[in-house]
Symmetry: C2
Subunit: 248 residues, 2 copies
């Protein structure tokens, strides 16, 4: 994984936002100048806890971050996965008291950006405020899709859908190719994201591998047949809103 500078990390974030929202040159420049205040840091497995009141938002620079909740018997549920270029807790900007936790699933580096800087920026450049908000809406779309997968589709379809979604999201962030992307997640953690037991997830992955559709390796995913993967997962990328629809 290429080590990257703070500017490169922020540029990745800007490009992501710009996919969905038109962002002026000045706003982009202002955002790029921001990180002078922060440093990239390695994070612990657990770096945002339930009940924390946040004053910064975290941009994933490299690695993989999960947002998760827990039931009383200790079962964990991953409700979002964030890849480099994502800002997993952007919405703490308007709701700083968090009710979930963030967790690095592998050696991960992040950039913490103070809320007040983001707020000033959003005030000076209203298109940024819209872009941030829209990003949260897409996050919610993803979550809605996960709910459908978990609630109303069988295990094979759910897993196929997630692997297809992550492929498209990696490409949107300028990561990976159309048939491979880095995905350093264990089967146990992946099981928490698709709401299966690790044992059953393992069997589903085996089946997808034997059917020559997709191979989940240790730290990456190799897609052998995207068309069949998308078909198996009933995957339609519309909910990711990867086209800029700001035109009236």
């Amino acid at each position: 994984m290429a080590r990257c500078t703070t500017k490169e990390a922020v540029a990745m974030f800007i490009n992501r936002l710009a996919l969905r929202s038109p962002i002026g040159k000045q706003a982009q420049a202002a955002l790029l100048d921001l990180p002078a205040v922060s440093e990239i840091e390695d994070v612990e497995r657990d770096f945002v806890h339930v009940g924390d009141r946040l004053s910064h938002s975290c941009l994933v620079v490299d690695g993989l971050v999960a947002r998760f909740a827990q039931t009383q018997d200790g079962a964990r549920s991953v409700v979002a996965l964030h890849i480099p270029g994502d800002m997993g807790d952007l919405f703490s900007l308007v709701a700083p008291n968090v009710t979930w936790a963030l967790h690095a699933l592998c050696p991960t580096r992040i950039l913490r950006i103070p809320h007040h800087h983001l707020r000033e920026l959003a005030e000076q450049h209203p298109e940024l405020a819209t872009a941030f908000w829209r990003d949260n809406v897409v996050d919610a779309n993803i979550l809605a899709q996960w709910t459908v997968n978990i609630g109303r589709k069988d295990a094979r379809s759910t897993v196929a859908h997630l692997l297809a979604e992550m492929a498209v999201r990696h490409q949107a962030n300028g990561l990976g190719s159309d048939h491979e992307y880095g995905f350093p997640i264990t089967q146990a953690d992946l099981a928490d994201a698709v709401a299966l037991t690790p044992v059953h997830l393992n069997r589903v992955l085996k089946r997808l591998r034997e059917d020559a559709i997709v191979i989940k390796e240790n730290t990456s995913v190799r897609i052998m047949d995207f068309a069949r993967l998308a078909h198996a997962g009933e995957f339609d990328p519309a909910y990711l809103q990867l086209t800029c629809d700001d035109r009236p």
Copy 2:
């Protein structure tokens, strides 16, 4: 169900927002003056479709609205329930191309408010923009909680959680008492919200009734023991963010 005027409907919405965000007198007045342009209307069972490009957002005046998605085999998944005072598609303000549908679950009246009016208002009163955005964040919190329920808890706990959540949300919107609220939803539709089959939901409701915890009647829910309901559902209202946390 009391028929209410457009102003009363909007006031319900404002009060809801004001629970979580401080909103100035002027902003409240401006919002209240808005609906002069719209009329309350009855809606069909299906009134927003996948792929629609919205130019208005719908405030539920009375009745019950579900946001849902569908799998290819026709199974339906309800990903949000909106009660009077809610604006189920507020986020179409920043993402007008919708990827889900809205559906009235009973005779329902709504108020359609044009996006451009809401946008002007948000520009003139920045606290309203924040309040709108924060409302979306809470919607996403609710969805995350549903994902946990559906994915990692058993049927009884999931159903208990939903009934407890709806109780608290009704009270937050100024509807219902602490032991009863209107909930005009069929078991089939409720089953789609908790990702169970109607048959199994029926058995779970029977058990909750026999255990003297809660009774789901035709058009309402009677809570016999909220403490045990909350316990059965592992319900903690923190994710609903019903306290105003704008203080720094």
